[in-house]
């Protein structure tokens, strides 16, 4: 299949690679040419041009505004993509943005799936991402083989926007768990206890979690180099808290964790890993 890919960052690059390895013909557009690297793909001059060449287009970028600009802006995908083609947006954006973009594309007969992913850079490299999909079930079935190149757990959540709602839930739980792990590590250290041993012991009990495994280990090793840059979680928390506000749903823990992320940003650790929440607790 002719597949377009926009957003060759830490997540997008390995994802594009998997699609290409599976035998699909890859077309890319990149703001910075350097990000294309040695990827065997046809370079397109604009998103619109890329849209003209492809049956399915993936986007993996940062913000709602980025996706809107790519999809609907000048020389955007909407100008090139044919009726019946599908845009799969794997970015994490606001549910209502996903719905708005879907409506605009729908006027031209282009389908959108909001398909945010979880699993981090490692999950992207290993092609083990969890993919939560919003959009028409029939459209998902058409492109499912493509998504299966990227992840193992592909769940149709509901109509457009539903995938982003699921991703918001994912981010709330994950970052709160990182904060919990950070507080536990901080307490252990302050009490003069070996953090590595605490982490090892906890991993076998009721507190075991993927976050405690991965982030706990980073904290123990004090390795704060980015897996996922904390600024992205900070961005996501803006979306999550806004969604809670729009629904009138109190989220006291999420709000508290959001403030720790604000402090993390203020310390200048936005491009480091979110395990840096431990370092926020160490600020004196």
């Amino acid at each position: 299949m002719k597949v377009g890919f926009i957003g060759l960052g830490a997540m997008g690059r390995p994802m594009a690679g998997h699609l290409q390895k599976a035998g699909h013909q890859l077309f890319v557009w990149a703001r910075r040419l350097a990000s294309v690297g040695d990827l065997a793909a046809t370079l397109c001059p604009t998103p619109a041009e890329l849209g003209r060449c492809c049956e399915v287009v993936f986007t993996v970028v940062t913000s709602s505004a980025d996706v809107e600009a790519l999809a609907l802006g000048r020389d955007g995908l909407i100008e090139g993509m044919a009726p019946g083609s599908v845009l799969i947006d794997c970015s994490t954006i606001a549910p209502e943005s996903a719905r708005e973009i879907a409506a605009r594309l729908g006027e031209k007969g282009i389908a959108l799936l909001d398909a945010p992913v979880s699993g981090g850079v490692q999950g992207a490299i290993d092609a083990t991402l969890a993919i939560m999909v919003g959009g028409e079930a029939g459209v998902l079935e058409r492109v499912r083989p493509l998504l299966e190149c990227l992840g193992q757990r592909i769940v149709h959540i509901g109509p457009n926007g539903a995938g982003q709602v699921a991703k918001a839930c994912n981010q709330m739980i994950m970052v709160a768990a990182i904060q919990a792990a950070a507080e536990a590590m901080r307490l252990a250290a302050a009490a003069g206890v070996d953090c590595a041993k605490v982490q090892l012991a906890l991993a076998g009990g009721s507190a075991a979690s993927r976050v405690l495994d991965v982030m706990g280990e980073r904290m123990v090793k004090r390795d704060f180099s980015a897996g996922i840059e904390a600024r992205l979680h900070h961005k996501d928390f803006g979306l999550v808290l806004e969604a809670g506000r729009k629904s009138g749903v109190p989220m006291p823990l999420t709000a508290a964790v959001g403030q720790q992320l604000n402090a993390l940003m203020a310390q200048g650790w936005g491009r480091d890993d979110t395990a840096s929440l431990l370092r926020v607790l160490e600020v004196r």
Partner: protein, 288 residues
């Protein structure tokens, strides 16, 4: 002075009456015609639309709900304004939004002041509002006589946006203050202690505040009529939290408080006074 006034809600209505009482000539406009009538009866003139409120006046004041409303009426004002007009927004909106509106108006030669108020309906009626002003010294000097009819504590804080920053700071203190008094009352009641006595005792010490005195008394009376509606306090705290997010500023207390107000709106208490947060606390702890 000839003054145009846009927005005649609980606050705006009382502020206009004080401007009239102060001898100013006021023309008013509001989206709902019925809210204009009492003021026309009191001697105000009727403007046709926000543009009409600007035409022929020396200053024009808006007192509306949120930033998009302010932007909308100020665009109409900009289109109709004559040179030398001072446009003043007394609504509570985000500092960034105020700065944007100020820049747009400056581009067409209109001086803009952000001048949000504190003091609630009581202060608006009594003409004792606190008014915190951002904008140029010259525009402030020109508008000052009007401010002094509406408020007692009129402070020129700094450049455009500074008034809204001050108001956001005010909402942090009042939001947490209301929650603090409500929590103290819930604590006293759960311990079987008379909260009115607690209030009385606290008023003599370091916990004294206007909120403990006034809002505390209304909590005791279980008078949850607004006043200041909790959905508006929630909106204001959202301005605080969004600004904190953009700046990378850690405000744990404000964040927790904002969630309580969020819960109030979500559970249908948005139209009640923000002191109804006491009811929410009581429900959470099974004190009803």
């Amino acid at each position: 002075m000839k003054i145009g006034f846009i927005g005649l809600g609980i606050m705006g209505r009382a502020m206009v009456l004080n401007l009239i009482k102060g001898g100013h000539t006021v023309t008013v406009w509001a989206r709902r015609a019925e809210s204009m009538q009492p003021l026309l009866d009191a001697g105000a003139g009727a403007a046709e639309g926000p543009a009409g409120a600007a035409q022929g006046n020396e200053i024009v004041i808006s007192m509306v709900a949120d930033a998009p409303d302010v932007a909308e009426v100020m665009r109409a004002v900009a289109a109709a304004a004559e040179p030398g007009l001072v446009a003043i927004d007394m609504s509570t909106i985000a500092p960034a939004a105020a700065r944007r509106i100020g820049e747009e108006l400056a581009a067409v030669g209109i001086d803009f002041l952000d001048a949000p108020v504190s003091g609630g309906e009581v202060g608006a009626i009594a003409g004792t509002l606190s008014i915190m002003v951002g904008g140029s010294e010259a525009a402030f000097a020109k508008a000052r006589p009007a401010f002094e009819c509406m408020g007692k504590n009129v402070v020129h804080v700094g450049a455009c946006g500074a008034g809204q920053v001050t108001k956001a700071a005010n909402q942090i203190v009042t939001g947490m203050g209301v929650l603090a008094v409500a929590e103290a009352f819930a604590f006293a009641a759960k311990n079987g202690v008379d909260r009115s006595k607690v209030r009385e005792a606290l008023l003599g010490g370091f916990a004294y505040s206007k909120i403990l005195e006034n809002h505390g008394q209304r909590m005791l009376n279980r008078n949850f009529k607004p006043g200041f509606k909790s959905w508006m306090h929630e909106k204001d705290l959202n301005i605080v939290m969004q600004t904190a997010h953009e700046l990378g500023l850690c405000l744990p207390g404000s964040a927790a408080t904002a969630q309580m107000f969020n819960a109030m709106v979500g559970s249908g208490m948005g139209e009640e006074d923000s002191i109804a947060v006491l009811k929410l606390l009581e429900r959470l702890s099974g004190q009803e």
